[in-house]
């Protein structure tokens, strides 16, 4: 397993053009360990001087076998693995999985849980875009952007820690609602964040948006037109920057998104700069949604009362026999799901995150497939880097916003 293999050009013959076989162009390995590849992605570049002729991505260096491992666990225990797929957006992954489970077993979600889910998922979207803007700036040598973005992110992670005890992999969203109600300090913390954050986005825009070096490096680079994007299955801000107005929160609203008033930023140029502008504007829109949801937050239970699928609260265990039996059955064996398959998708910060869940009558899922957005978003990379320089490749790769945990699952 740890032998070093000698590779020859023979293995890559079908991937590279004939100029490489004649020795005219150079094959360069931008290996799995590289500061700018945003994770363990290997790119096989064919270069003519400094210009890229072809770039072939090689993925699988973070393949975790999550889909197979989830088949061996019950529905509730498998949710723990869902956090760790797209590790910038763990609450979003939880939401996608829980929505699929709720659709499969036909479970209701109370309105307070829906509103809180929206608040948490939008805060998670802001946190993900902050890491994106931080590493984007870092790749283009604006290192102060990285430090500013992580400072804001600490405020959001403090809110998550307040609710669930964990900064990142919270597993706070469970089938039927949330794990437990938010504490009293939650509202104050979120309101402080809402007050503080718009000025910070203005700071970032002042640093980057009209910066001549930034504009020089990004405008006109990596153009992606709408037809190629749709054929490759690209979704999310990458698609919206190419002119297609498709956002699952508006087209197929879930968790009560139709009640909130927000815009979806769309630009038509399709280059790296457009993708940057779309994401910065999305951060502002997410903040609007958080504020509206917090103002309208209804009272009530935070988890469904259906005891066949949701464990009872511990206070009931001492007084009710049925609660004890449900608790025992749910934690040892799990709940059975009907035979059939569902596909349910949410809008994650990267695009359409879908879960194909198939039940077979037992307590463990028969098949869980994650339709992750970064997989399709990356497949469009070879088409948009042709003819650009290696330094542009770094900018384009950063602007597509891939997360390798999403791709390799």
């Amino acid at each position: 397993m740890t032998q070093i293999e000698e590779v020859s050009l023979e293995q890559f013959k079908h991937l590279v053009s004939e100029r490489a076989l004649r020795g005219e162009t150079m094959l360069l390995n931008m290996g799995p360990q590289h500061p700018s590849t945003h994770g363990v992605l290997r790119l096989l570049l064919e270069l003519d001087g400094e210009t890229i002729v072809n770039a072939v991505p090689d993925i699988g260096y973070l393949h975790t076998g999550v889909e197979k491992n989830m088949e061996a666990k019950t529905y509730l225990k498998a949710e723990v693995m869902s956090d760790r797929l797209d590790y910038m957006n763990p609450l979003g992954n939880n939401l996608a999985y829980c929505m699929a489970v709720e659709k499969l077993v036909d479970l209701d979600v109370p309105p307070r849980a829906q509103a809180l889910r929206v608040i948490l998922v939008e805060l998670q979207r802001i946190a993900s875009h902050l890491v994106w803007i931080g590493t984007f700036g870092l790749d283009l040598a604006a290192m102060s952007m990285f430090l500013y973005a992580f400072r804001e992110r600490e405020a959001i992670l403090d809110i998550f820690e307040l609710c669930s005890g964990q900064r990142m992999m919270t597993t706070y969203i469970r089938p039927g609602g949330l794990w437990r109600d938010v504490p009293v300090e939650f509202e104050t913390a979120v309101r402080n964040f809402i007050k503080m954050f718009p000025k910070r986005i203005d700071e970032y825009e002042a640093l980057l948006t009209k910066n001549p070096v930034f504009l020089d490096r990004l405008v006109g680079i990596g153009k992606l037109d709408a037809a190629t994007a749709l054929s490759h299955g690209v979704t999310g801000p990458t698609l919206r920057a190419s002119g297609v107005n498709w956002d699952l929160r508006k087209a197929r609203p879930y968790m009560g998104y139709e009640q909130y008033d927000f815009n979806v930023p769309v630009r038509t140029e399709g280059d790296t700069y457009a993708r940057y502008l779309v994401r910065v504007q999305e951060m502002r829109e997410s903040l609007k949604i958080v504020e509206q949801a917090l103002n309208k937050l209804p009272m009530g239970p935070v988890i469904s009362a259906n005891r066949k699928f949701v464990p009872p609260p511990r206070s009931e265990l001492g007084v009710s026999m049925e609660a004890l039996i449900h608790h025992f059955k749910l934690w040892t064996e799990g709940f059975p799901a009907p035979k059939g398959s569902v596909y349910s998708a949410i809008e994650s910060p990267r695009g359409e995150l879908g879960v194909y869940l198939e039940g077979d009558g037992g307590p463990k899922p028969h098949r869980v497939h994650w339709r992750t957005p970064s997989f399709d978003n990356l497949s469009v990379l070879p088409k948009i880097v042709k003819g650009h320089l290696v330094a542009d490749l770094v900018a384009i790769l950063a602007s597509i916003d891939i997360v390798l945990g999403d791709i390799d699952r």
Binding site: H232, T235, V244, G340, R367
Partner: protein, 170 residues
């Protein structure tokens, strides 16, 4: 079923002799492997299903005919519709024609299905493994491939597992 989807399903039924089922508001249409490329082209060109959102497969071992179902989830952005096509495939020598010429998404997705299930796609431009390392034998998501579970070390079996684990000395 959505009334915009009804004429589409009707056309599929007539042209390809397809059956369909509904579950939780979704429509799943069953077509055979020979018809799938034609069905996808029809849906893309005539009915504006621009995007292949998801493509995956499911293993129903130990039943062998059919053993796999290859699943195509199509989305129409202009009409805001979704339909799912399923192709049942037998267990011995599973082969399906490639959909790469219809949707570019299928290129990597079919490599992933080949890697995980062993279903071959005829006419695919680049049939290599995509996620698992080179040299692995077998296809991981098949039901007869073991999980690779390693026994956890508790205090009562700590030494015996320690002897078996390959630690790096240097």
């Amino acid at each position: 079923m959505d009334n915009k989807l009804e004429p589409i399903v009707k056309t599929l039924q007539e042209k390809f002799n397809a059956t369909f089922e509904e579950f939780r508001g979704e429509v799943h249409v069953f077509v055979t492997a020979e018809q799938i490329v034609e069905a996808l082209t029809l849906l893309r060109d005539k009915y504006d299903f621009e995007m292949l959102s998801a493509m995956t497969a499911s293993d129903y071992w130990p039943q062998q005919t059919p053993r796999f179902h290859v699943i195509y989830q199509l989305t129409s952005l202009v009409k805001n519709l979704s339909v799912q096509l399923r192709v049942p495939v037998n267990g011995d020598q599973p082969k399906v024609p490639t959909a790469t010429r219809v949707y570019e998404t299928a290129n990597w997705r079919e490599r992933e299905i080949f890697d995980m299930f062993g279903i071959e796609f005829e006419g695919h431009p680049d049939p290599r493994r995509i996620l698992t390392p080179e040299g692995i034998e077998g296809h991981p998501l098949r039901k007869d491939f073991p999980l690779g579970y390693e026994e956890p070390q508790f205090t009562f079996n700590f030494e015996e597992i320690d002897l078996r684990k390959p630690y790096a000395k240097e």
